[in-house]
Every structure is written in structure tokens, then in C-alpha cells.
Symmetry: C3
Subunit: 437 residues, 3 copies
């Protein structure tokens, strides 16, 4: 019973700093949904966990989609008439529209303008732009710099390639006692953006590292994938694995200063939804639980009606609602060791409860068992209440979380009561439906 | 998909005036639950719609009831001792208790008093009284006039007949693409009373006229019947037709100055209940949705437990709660073109939504379809949200109205998204349960 | 239909006084979970009702428990060095820890202290203590007296016996028309404590007396048992009878000055839960309905998951929440004739409604029956409403209590309407599920 993931060994202060350092290392890499930047990122993670890399060739049909050509980039710049670089990929990889095709030409400013993207409302920030499914090129720059551009001719150079290749993703499967899987998924395709989603990537990696070291009830599958196309590709090629998913979380945007928010799975009342809501309630006022909606990150795919997997999303401030979102302001200063550590602690709380949450059967369901002669009655009143609640509701219909909520007692007390009753032979695990779903 | 009733061609200002003019024409006719007044009313409506008239003979058993004798009246009066008419049917047909048997006698005032009905609290108004199932006679008059009656003898004359004949009702069936019917029923048996129910009668007639001109998904059955006995008669003689009713509305009291109220069907959560509640919410603060109760108009019969049809009632101020109810004050000034036009617009809103409300199946339910390559992603954000919501919830369990409510988006946006997705082959109608019930 | 328990003949003022007198008579007896005090109590009740006494031998296995040895006591005291009785069982039987083994020895005060129990926060009261399942002895006394004890030697004498014997309980079965039982259970094992539970014992006895005199729809089973072990014993030896229980109440603590509280059965929505909640609502503001929890009196056993009987608990102030609980202050002045009479009236209200609550079938479910020709329409409007509600909802799914709640009408009006409709042949009892469960 007690052989489950607990996360107890974690030093939450230290883990926050370690997460931030890892983000710092990954930050400069120019990632995209395919290409060497993604691969390099996975290689860094392999120092922490035995991540398996998969390569899916360009052109592979994945449901309604096709794996795109692979994109790589070495350099890019725009020079003014005097040969001075006014935009330079080496300064920030956000300067190039992600997936820009190769280009080398000279244009007048008025012709170049249509290729330039800025944020007039935040003139100091570089926006993040992509053009995955339409072959095109362009540059992103600070609006302040844009205003300084003078009429004349500009030389444009993009040393990129868009060729037959493959889509890369990283996968780590940790076998548990049960043949039921917990899916932990994060998109790892964004270039130099920290909250979105180096925070999710590093949290998933270090959580996986800790899970390797502890016994597990569930099997865990960690996915580090390019957003949208990666989730679709994995689902299309792994329908058998998808069918084993009993609970899941998408991790994204977990280092910013806001409170933690959970977006429920499409089902709305899955065990993962109840567990996360319970944990967040315990964390206090700043947390929020949101209903499912069909836009967002990769939960869109996991929760599509043909799969309808019980997968929710854990974030801090929801994407798109903070000004730094998809801009150069989502940098190393936007994510803090404190918030990252806090998010890690919440994940440990969620998974340690999920592992322990279960339905049991009272083996002595007719009248109360005599607790006294088993030494169970000597304990304090609150503890006896927990024992009685667990006995009363262990009828195969209620899991420990249900019992905690109905009794108003802590999940920890209820779980402890269940452990003691199991030890006394007064409870048995419910076979066949052990996941509480 | 788009071949459904829309009501788009209606000029709502003009229709209010047309409704009021038609009420004006029908107002003087002395109607009852049987007889020539009812027939004459139907003949006027036949100028607008191809109404079929049915005659059910006196004595026909209809469930627990029997079709009564037919009542007709030519004239009636009370003369004082000097031969002056103090009460005169020609002035208002409300003066005679409806269904009064023939009478011609002379009585002292004290003997006559028991036959006279007034409204002391509204001394200027003539009450409306009936005696359908007890053979009797009497007069209704203004309380002011009643007080002016002097002692002495009065000659009473009622030139009526109560004989074997038939009960008349009008029926119009408009076939639609589906073999599911929408029932629209109104009682047409009241004499010179405008709100109750020339408003319902004329609205049903002109709505039917418009429906004749448009394609329809549902088949529509309009009933113009005498209250209670008419509904019972139709149900008893048309059980096969009753079983085809998927949605229905009783129309009554729709011209008075109050807000629109909807009384739910006995089921309480029928599609018609959800559609009307949705439309009324859109109309703002003055509208109300009431729970079912087993008294009222002909919804009593349609919702009796042996039928339990999904039929609600649309009214403005509920019957019996306004002082003009069942008095001569329910006259041409009590109903206005504005309110009649407003009620017409609400009906168009209800039926156009009902026609479009449907369950669909996402034909590509595993992961999202690639909207971009179908030109569906170029549109504004709100429109994409509607597309994603429709795709996510089109699992055979949710109709468009459910999707509108869960997403918080307008029904129109959701319907438009469904049309676009159908056009792109990403949605198919759910066969066999197209009515959303 | 009308042959059911009504309680109409009760004089509620007189019954309150009679209950209090009976409590007065039973108060001095030293009861315990076994022994002659319990038997003597049952013998007093046999003057009122034909109670059957059962003796279950020591050592009998009852589920997880064993019937304990029988305990009897004649006398007990503590004398100081001068032979003066400083604690005397003859003054109050609470002075001895209930189930104390025999003792006769002389100890120093410091050695005696561990055997003495007081209530420092209520120095004038003697606490009530038991040691049923651990062989031990001790005394309870006023804290004031405890403080007056001087150093020195004390002679302790307990003239008790703990021997092979039996557990006694009283049972009264009153057969009704239906083979469905109502269980009324009270614990009768406490010594000189009035509210807990001579109030429950005497209410059960006098209610049973009245039930003997009236026709009954249900069969009633009254149990006067020792707490916990008595309920477990009865359930273990009478599983066939337990399976006949359709509704039940545990009566405990019904004479104190607080409002009436009802604790729901584990099911939470059993008919008894709905009926009691309905009756308490009618009694006004001081009453409360509490959710089930798995601690309390014998409802713990009846509601254990292997039985899950629909048994709730009726009390006034819940046990353990008033300071007099389990102390000598729970005496004859703590319970009043007024409150006892009030509790009796509530019980009559509950059982008379329970007896009348039933599901019926409208025998004329298609359209309304013609009430007028059956003389049912002449009555006042409210009465017609009740008739229509009963007709509308008598579809086999709703009992009269449901109809009362949905219509907002009184249960009495709804029941009266059902009686009239039954008389007119418009309603028939629903066979096979007559208990509304």
C-alpha cells in the first residue's frame, strides 16, 4: 500500500533553483516543431532522465495532418544600406519568424515592411511569430527599432533550410505496479521563451527524475513534444498506449508570478480533475479551477471527442492573458526559482495523492468491527472518525478522495486510516477498478 | 442544412398592425366551444391559411368526456317593465352567460337577481361567464347598471339553441423534411375577448402563413380548437398524430402589455423548454420562465401523464393574474400592435432556433482537423472558438443549443460554425435523433 | 386507505406528563448493557406494552463482536480513614464506573487517585464512565468532593459481579397490512441519565402503546436494546428481519430544551429522510436536518455498509454537544413534560405521514378526467389544485410527499385529494412498490 510515489525526498528550495538553472541552459537554443534545436534540447534532458528519442519522417500521415518538412537555421540578419545589421538572429532567435524559408535579397524599406512584425503597445519587446504551414519568411523586432529604420535599401539574409527530415519527440516510460498510465505532456517547441514552455519542460524532466527513484503504483509516460503536431503525431502512432491513459496532465506556463490554475479535462469530473481541485484548494486563495474549453495547449488533442482522455492542464497564469506571453519579455527574469519550486511541490502533491487514491472494500461490512480489540480505538478522536468514515464508505463506490471530501477530513488522515485498516485486515483493495475512475 | 424556417422576410412593425386588424375583424363574433361563431372565425382564418375544418358529432366519447350539444344564439335581452332593453346581447355578446339555454319569461327583479353576474370591484366591466356542462341561463352586466335596476317585472328573452350538432376545430398540417411534428395549439372558443385569445389565434394563423412560404425541417401542425374539450377531442381522435409530436407550444394571451412568460412542459427539460428559455433570456429582463403546474390552458391535456408531450405555453401576463382577464376590459385597447409584433418576433426566434437545433457528429473525432488547410482558420478568433466548440461537443450527446450554453457563445455563431463544418465535411447530422430530444 | 396510524387520539399535554412520570420511575435503576437493571427496566415497560424479552448468552459471537459477561452490582463505596463514606453508590449509581469488577481493598489516596474521575469544569456534577471491554474498576465523583479528600488511607468496596450470563433486550412486533417493517430503536442501557436515554425509551414505549390501538399499514418493530452491542446482536441474530426494514428511526435524547434535529440515514435520500425533513420544516425555525456521519448511536450499525438500512436518528440537541451530556446533570430537571410532549407530537407527525405516503397510478392518465360530473369540481380552488397535482404526478414515479413538495401544497391537502380520487376510482395504489422507496 505504501509503495507509491511520495516526493518526500524533495528539497523544494533547492529544486526551484535547479529548475531555473536548467531553464537558463536551455534558453538560448533556437527550438521549433522540428529540427536540431529540438533535438539538442532533448539531449540536455537526457543528462537527467533516460529519455528515448523518436524521429517521425516528413510526410507521415497523422490523422488529418501530415508531418511537415524539417526546419533548421544557422543565421539571419537584415543590413541597412551601409551594411550595418539592424536585425540580428544572433542577438535573439525570436528575430526570425519561426519556420522562415531561406532568403537572400535586397528590398526597399516599403517592400520590407510587410515582412516585419512588432508590438506597438510594448515597443521594447520582440514578438514571437511562426509560419509552420504556409511557406514564408519574415522578421520580428522591437517597435522602437522599427521606428528608427530609415528609407532605403535593405539586404535580407536567412540561412535556413526546410527539407525532408523528421519530427523529433522525447518519451520516457516508467513502469509501475499497475497497467494504467499517467500521461505527463509538455510542448518543447518554443525558442527562447522561458515560461512558455521551458518551465513545463524542466518541471516534467525533474519530476520524472524523482519518479525514477521511487516505487510507483501507476506507470508514467512523459512526453516532450512539439505543440499540436507532436500530440497529434503521438496519438496517431500510439493508439494502444493512449488507451492505457487513466489520468494525465499537460504542463505549461508554470514559472510566472501568478497563482496556479487548473483547466479540467473535457470530462470535467475525472479523478485527475477531482485530485487537482483538492490539492489546489489546500494551497489557498490564489488558485483557480477552470472548466474545459476546446482551445489551449495539447489537451486539445488528448481531449478531442474521439479520445476524450482524462487529461487536464496545469499552468500558473493562463496563456494569452499576460502581456509577456509570446514575446521576448518571457525571459529568465519572468520565471523565478520560488514559483518553479512551488509548482514542483504542487505536482508532487497531485501525484502523491493520485497514487494513494483508491477504492477499498470494507471486509467486515455488517456492523462496525470492534476497533478496540485491534488497538485501533485507543487513538485520538479525530483519528477514530477517519477510521469510521473509511469503513462506512468503503463500499466500492467511493475512493479515498470522495471520503475526504464527504467527511471534511484531510486526505492525509483518510489515507492514514485506510493504511491502518488494511493492516488490520479490515479493508481490501477493490480489484479491477483501482484507479478510482 | 440551411433549408429551414427563418422568418427572415417578416416586417415586424407591419405584422403587429396586421395582427391587430385581424383581431378587430374577429372581435365582434360570438364564439363558444361549439356553433357557428367558431365556424365563422375559422372561415376568416381560411383567407390566410388553408385551414381544414373538422366536425365531431355531439355525443362522441372522447376519453372521459363526451362532445356536448352544439350551442347557437341569435339574440338575447332583458326588458324592464316599460319595455326598455336594460341588457342587450347586441351591445356585447358577453352579456349572455355562454351556453345559456333558450328562455323567454317574465320575472320579478328579486327572482332575476340569481341569474345576474357582475364585478363589484370593477363596476364598469362586464364579466365573462360560461355554463357548458350544466344546462342553465343567465346574464352578465356592469355592476353600475345592476345597481340602477329598479324593482318590478322584467322580460327575459334568449334566442339560443342547444341541440345535437357538432364540435368544430380547425387544423393545418404543413409537411416538413422530417416525420417529426411541432404542435402549435390555441383555443379559439372565447367570444369578444381580445387577449384571451384572439391574440393567440391570430398569431398562430399568421405564423402558419409565413411557414407555408418557407422550407421547413419539421412538420408543423396548427390547431385552432375550443379550450379543454377541443384538446381532449383532438387527442382522443388522433393518438397516432399525437405520438409524432416532438415539440409544441400552446399560444394564449400574447397581446397584453406585460413581459413574455413561458410555462415549461411537464417534462421540464424538453428541447422546447430549453429553446424558449434561451430565446427569452436574449429578450431581457421582463421575461420569465415558470415551472409546469397542472392547471392552465390546453397544455393540461397535452401534458397529462398518459401523453406527457413536450408542450409548453407561451403567454405574456399569465392568465388570471391581470384584472382585465375574462371581462369586457379585455378589449381592442388592451392588446397593441407593438406587443403583438413583439410576440410574433419571439415566436420566429423560437421556431427558427428549434429548426436549426440539432445534434451532429464530428467526422474526424480523433484530434483536431487541420482547419487552416480548409480555409477555416483564417477567420476571426471568436469564429474559430465556435468551430472548436462545435467539433469538441459534436459527439452525439450535445445539440447546438447545449454547445451555445456551455461555450457562452451565441446560438447564431454556433449554428454558423456548424454550417461551415458541414460544408467542409467535418460534421455529419446525427441520424435517427435529429430533434435534439 | 384511511386505515393507518394517525395518532389523533393523543392528548399531547397529558402525554408529556405521563412520559416524565415514567422517566421518574425508571431513573433510579442502575442499568448497564447487561444485567438486572436492564431487565427491571423492561419489566416496567411491560406494564404499558407486551414487550418480549430476549436473553443472548455470554460468549455468543455476533459478527466481529462477542456478547460480554453479565454485570450486576449491589453496592459500592469508598470510606475514609475514619470509616466515613466519602463516595456512595446508594446516593447515585453514576458514582461507580459502569462494569467495574468486584473490589475490596485499602489504598493510600495517591494510589486511589488514578481510579477517580471528575469534571473540573463542572465541579458540582458527577461524570458517567464505563469500562465494558477492559476489566477494571473506578469511581466517579464531584470535583468539589474530590478536592476535599485528605491524604490517608481509603477503604474501597465494590459489590459487583461479572459472570457468564446473558445480554437482555426487549422487542415488540406489531403486524401491519404490509410485510414491510418500520424499525424504532432506542438504547436502554444507561443508568441514571434522563435525556440519554430514558427520553427515547419512554417515547418509544408510549408510541408503541398508541400504535397497538390503531390500524397500521406498516408492521412496526420496537427495539429496546443496550447501545452498540445490542444493535449488533440483534442484527447478527435477525438478518431476515433486518431485510424487511423499509424505514427506521433511532430515538435518543428527546427531552432536553433544544430544537429537534434529525440525522439522515447513510442513504441520505431515503423516504424516512424526506418525511422527517418535511415534518421538521413544518415545525419551524429551531429544527435541523444533519447529514449522515458514521459516528453516533445505533444508526452506526443499522447504516453500516453491509446493511445500509434506511434508518435515521431523531434527537433534540445532538449528543455530546450539551454540557450535561453523560453527567449527573442529565437529571429529571433537564427533561421537561413540554419537550417530551413536543417530541411525541413530532413522532406522531412523522409516522402518520409515513403511513399515508405512497405512490399511486392515475387510472385515467390520458387527458384530465371530468371532475365536474363526479362532484369533485365544486370544491374550492385550492382543493382542485391538489386534485390536479395528484392526477398529474401519479405516474408511478412520485409519491404523495414528492407531490406535496413539488406543488408547494400541504401534505394533508395532497393526501386528502388522493383519498377523494381513490374514492372516485381515478387513482389506484401502485402495486409492489407501495412504500415510496
Amino acid at each position: 500500500m505504501d509503495h507509491h510515489f511520495t516526493g518526500r525526498s524533495t528539497d523544494h528550495d533547492a529544486i526551484g533553483c535547479e529548475l531555473h538553472s536548467l531553464i537558463e541552459e536551455l534558453y538560448p537554443i533556437c527550438r521549433s516543431i522540428t529540427g536540431d534545436g529540438f533535438r539538442k534540447t532533448m539531449q540536455v534532458l537526457q543528462r537527467y532522465i533516460p529519455l528515448e528519442l523518436h524521429e517521425v519522417p516528413t510526410g507521415t500521415r497523422v490523422f488529418d495532418w501530415t508531418v511537415p518538412k524539417e526546419w533548421n537555421i544557422k543565421d539571419a540578419w537584415v543590413k541597412d544600406g551601409e551594411g550595418v545589421k539592424v536585425i540580428d538572429f544572433q542577438e535573439s532567435n525570436l528575430h526570425v519568424v519561426n519556420y522562415s524559408i531561406p532568403a537572400h535579397e535586397t528590398l526597399k524599406l516599403e517592400d520590407l515592411r510587410g515582412r516585419l512584425f512588432t508590438l506597438p503597445e510594448h515597443p521594447e519587446w520582440i514578438p514571437y511569430r511562426t509560419s509552420y504551414y504556409t511557406e514564408n519568411w519574415g522578421f520580428c523586432l522591437r517597435h522602437d527599432d522599427y521606428l528608427r529604420l530609415e528609407d532605403g535599401e535593405y539586404e535580407v539574409f536567412i540561412d535556413s533550410s526546410l527539407t525532408e527530415g523528421s519530427l523529433t519527440y522525447g518519451e520516457l516510460f516508467l513502469e509501475g505496479r499497475e497497467e494504467s498510465d499517467v500521461l505527463v505532456s509538455c510542448h518543447a517547441c518554443h525558442p527562447s521563451l522561458c515560461n512558455d514552455n521551458l518551465s513545463g519542460v524542466t518541471l516534467a524532466a525533474l519530476l520524472a527524475r524523482q519518479m525514477c527513484e521511487e516505487p510507483r503504483r501507476y506507470s508514467y509516460r512523459f512526453l516532450f513534444i512539439p505543440g499540436t503536431i507532436g500530440a497529434i503525431t503521438w496519438l496517431a502512432l500510439n493508439e494502444d498506449k493512449a488507451s492505457r491513459v487513466r489520468h494525465g496532465l499537460v504542463l505549461a506556463g508554470l514559472g510566472d508570478p501568478g497563482g496556479i490554475t487548473y483547466k479540467k479535462s473535457r470530462r470535467g469530473d475525472a479523478t485527475i480533475d477531482r485530485v487537482v481541485a483538492h490539492v489546489l484548494r489546500g494551497l489557498g486563495r490564489d488558485q483557480a479551477v477552470l472548466d474545459f474549453d476546446p482551445y489551449g495547449y495539447d489537451e486539445r488533442q488528448y481531449c478531442s471527442p474521439g479520445f476524450d482522455l482524462p487529461v487536464g492542464r496545469l499552468s500558473r497564469t493562463p496563456y494569452g492573458t499576460y502581456p509577456e506571453y509570446h514575446t521576448s519579455a518571457d525571459d529568465l527574469s519572468f520565471v523565478s526559482p520560488t514559483r518553479l519550486g512551488e509548482s514542483y511541490r504542487a505536482l508532487v502533491g497531485i501525484f502523491s495523492r493520485l497514487e494513494r487514491n483508491q477504492k477499498y472494500l470494507n471486509t467486515n461490512p455488517r456492523c462496525e468491527p470492534q476497533l478496540g480489540r485491534r488497538g485501533l480505538y485507543s487513538s485520538a478522536g479525530k483519528s477514530v472518525k477517519a477510521l469510521l468514515w473509511v469503513l462506512s464508505l468503503s463500499d466500492g463506490l467511493h475512493d479515498l478522495l470522495d471520503i475526504a471530501q464527504r467527511s471534511g477530513l484531510e486526505f492525509e488522515s483518510i489515507h492514514e486510516a485506510a493504511v491502518r485498516l488494511l493492516g488490520a485486515g479490515l479493508l481490501s483493495p477493490e480489484e479491477g477498478r483501482q484507479d478510482g475512475s
